[in-house]
Amino acid sequence: MPDTSANQPILAARQLSKSFGDVRVLNNIDLNVHGGEVLALLGENGAGKSTLVKLLAGFEPITSGTLNLLNSDGSRGNTGKDWDVRAAERQGVVLIHQELNLAEQLSATDNIFLGNELKQGLLLNERLMHQRAREYLESLNCNIDPREQISRLEVSIKQMIEIAKAYAKQSRVLILDEPTAVLTFKESEVLFALINKLKREGVAIVYISHKLDEIENIADRVVILRDGYLIGSYQSRELDKDDMARLMVGRELTTLFPTNPKPPDSAKIVLKLTRGSLPKLISRASFQLCSGEVLGFFGLVGSGRTALMEAIVGLRKLSSTSKLEVNGREVNYKSLATARDDGVAYLTKDRKSSGLLLNMGLRFNFSLFSLNKFSRFLIDQKREQQEFDNAIKIFDIRAGDLEIKVGNLSGGNQQKLLFAKIMAADPSIVIIDEPTRGIDIGTRSEIYRYIAELAANGHAIILVSSDMLEVIGLSHRVAVMCRGELVGILEGGEIEEHEIMRYATGLKSKLMKDGEPRCD
């Protein structure tokens, strides 16, 4: 393993910044990555953790600042324009993505040696590669046959193979982006043992996770990011989990949000879910929703919010033990169309891949969800056009030419069009998933005003968001999810950043052992 005898960092970021277009996502980050140390990056969704490690590993070009590297030959120097994934891997800096990056149809050996195949003349030396692969895997306490095809392996084993791949390349810096999100508790334990082993061998580990107890366990140093700024660097023994949760948030609410008066106590319950569950994703979720109410759903990435919402509207199947009531009637939507016809609509968080047809025009997209409203057999194109013209005005969608393809609209206008598309079906219960992801502040406040208006007009709204400010600013109550469980519904004074974060990170829960919520 590499020489890290001198106590100088392998990687040193100086004033590192990154912008996507006009949006600055990282500001002047100074960071040292030392061999033999586990460095945890901690921050809310969107704080810039993933972007930062992508810069370190050459997945994204640096906008400004420098990255200083202790080269494999012992010399030091700044990385240049040619710092890309290949250059980073040559220098032993490897990023393992949360969504693993293996060739599924190839064997474990093939993957471990992909791009670095051992040859004998012109031909591959398969025997030697299998033998080496077995050695690598064994040293990671993973006893599988390296000839096995990747697609037949468990996710945790796949991750081992990713690590073995990094190991085979003599990596000096190993960056893990939320590695335990896909692992069970036991599998995570194996991973931690492995991390400790690599650390003893002098490898620098950069570790991103939302799970505070994990970080408390394995990190030597904790670096906190917030809104693209580095807030502080702490020895992990200086912090407890509460401190971490507090440091991750800690902002002031702004005037971005409209006043949004609470619905009266007499408001009718329009949606009620009891013991909601989904195989492998959601173990227990119970809540109810009143007309005129905005119920926020907060949780960290992977907590199961989207899966739960998709199950409610019929895009996934709820377990048979779940009970869903809409307007006092027990329902089990078999498709999104039946939910829509019942007045329940879902606004997807992924406007580009599941929300809009980017290569189609605005009107085509606008009416797609509600076509049945103005058609018997033939589509009433006149009425469609009228409704479309109306929606363009109401939602203030700005496209120079209404004939252009949706893919050419700005993100903000796309999001407004997605709202128009969903609302064209006149739903009374609207489930909105991440309405402002990647959207500028101006459009954001328009969307917030629109949501508040909907609620004031008696619509019942579920607002799923990873943006803490948004959830607090708009919601009357906040449901918090953690690892597939709805761990609490917070009201009044409980709706406060640190308290929400405690629930979201699993430090607090209102659930009782038997799975019934204590509240409601």
Binding site: L357, L368, N372, F377
Partner: protein
């Protein structure tokens, strides 16, 4: 509106197939005087109707992001079924018209059912359309060969005599097959461009996930496109059987490729999301015109028919992709 504006408004991509059809027509006129004869023109219309009708079905399948390779073999299989049914009924039913109508009914049922099977295999069994229809293509092709015992199935002479009117007869001087083609084309146009189902085909072919999140019954709509394709094949077969009055393992050979070619020449996008019925009609006419013109001239051997068609397909798609315009 200035002239310049006017020309930029004309969509070159959309007009392309029509321009090509016109150009081929002019070439035909120049090559041989016989080209413009009534006999030749009606011949072109009647011949293009088989591929044309099949291709209209294929326009739906392809627009919704699928593909159907089984149509040629399916046509042969349905021909065989029709002939066997008519021959069998000729002993028990006196009226040839009734026999023919029963065979037509059976043909539509078999076509719709064959389409349903393709559709269910694609949507329920989640097998790629290419593989499913490659498989059913083999099945139908070998079934017709088996039914004909390796030879040819021939239609009962008396029935064939009456039935032949469907192919050779005409209304206002235009052959019946051309009328059928026109009717199917108009219905197809309305269905694809004016109805909810048509919109859904575009959406599914464009992005299946978005379609699903837009409350579209994706599997149902895809299955219907294959059923429509099956029905179109059966209609093409109904007007094809009286032409020769026979069916064999060679019937409908390469129809699937000609139909797909007509669809693509017409401007429908092979990977789905955009379809044009009138383009497909023109595509079918173009393919028929090429072979007709080669028949009428000695300049190029008739054996090179496939080569000329191949060149036209590649050029047509190249022009439609529009990359040549950007580089200017």
């Amino acid at each position: 509106m200035t002239d310049r504006n006017f020309f930029s408004k004309i969509n070159l991509k959309a007009a392309g197939p029509f321009v090509a059809l016109f150009a081929l027509f002019m070439i035909g006129v120049l090559v041989n005087d016989a080209f413009l004869s009534v006999g030749n023109i009606t011949n072109i219309l009647a011949r293009s109707s088989f591929i044309g009708i099949v291709a209209i079905g294929a326009t739906f399948v392809i627009t919704a992001g699928g593909i159907d390779l089984s149509v040629g073999a399916m046509a042969a299989f349905i021909s065989g079924c029709m002939i066997i049914i008519m021959n069998a009924l000729s002993n028990s039913i006196d009226s040839s018209i009734v026999i023919i109508l029963l065979a037509i009914l059976a043909s539509v049922l078999v076509g719709a059912f064959a389409g349903l099977i393709n559709g269910l295999l694609v949507t329920r069994a989640k097998i790629e359309a290419f593989i499913v229809t490659l498989g059913t293509m083999g099945i139908y092709r070998s079934l017709i060969t088996y039914m004909a015992d390796g030879g040819t199935l021939s239609l009962n002479f008396a029935i064939g005599d009456i039935y032949s009117e469907v192919y050779y007869g005409d209304l206002f001087g235009i052959p019946y097959p051309a009328w059928v083609f026109l009717t199917i084309a108009i219905s197809g146009y309305i269905l694809l461009k004016k109805t909810v189902f048509g919109r859904h085909c575009f959406a599914i072919g464009s992005n299946e996930k978005v379609a699903l999140y837009s409350a579209i019954h994706v599997d149902r709509a895809k299955t219907i496109t294959y059923i429509l394709q099956g029905i179109c094949v059966s209609i093409a077969t109904i007007i094809y059987v009286p032409r020769l009055g026979s069916a064999s393992g060679q019937t409908g050979i390469l129809w699937e490729l000609e139909a797909i070619a007509a669809v693509i020449i017409g401007g429908t996008v092979l990977k789905g999301g955009y379809g044009r019925i009138w383009g497909t009609v023109v595509g079918a006419l173009i393919l028929t015109l090429i072979s007709n013109i080669l028949n009428l001239t000695d300049a190029i051997s008739n054996y090179l028919n496939g080569a000329v068609q191949g060149i036209i397909i590649i050029v047509a798609v190249y022009l439609q992709r529009g990359s040549w315009r950007k580089s200017n």
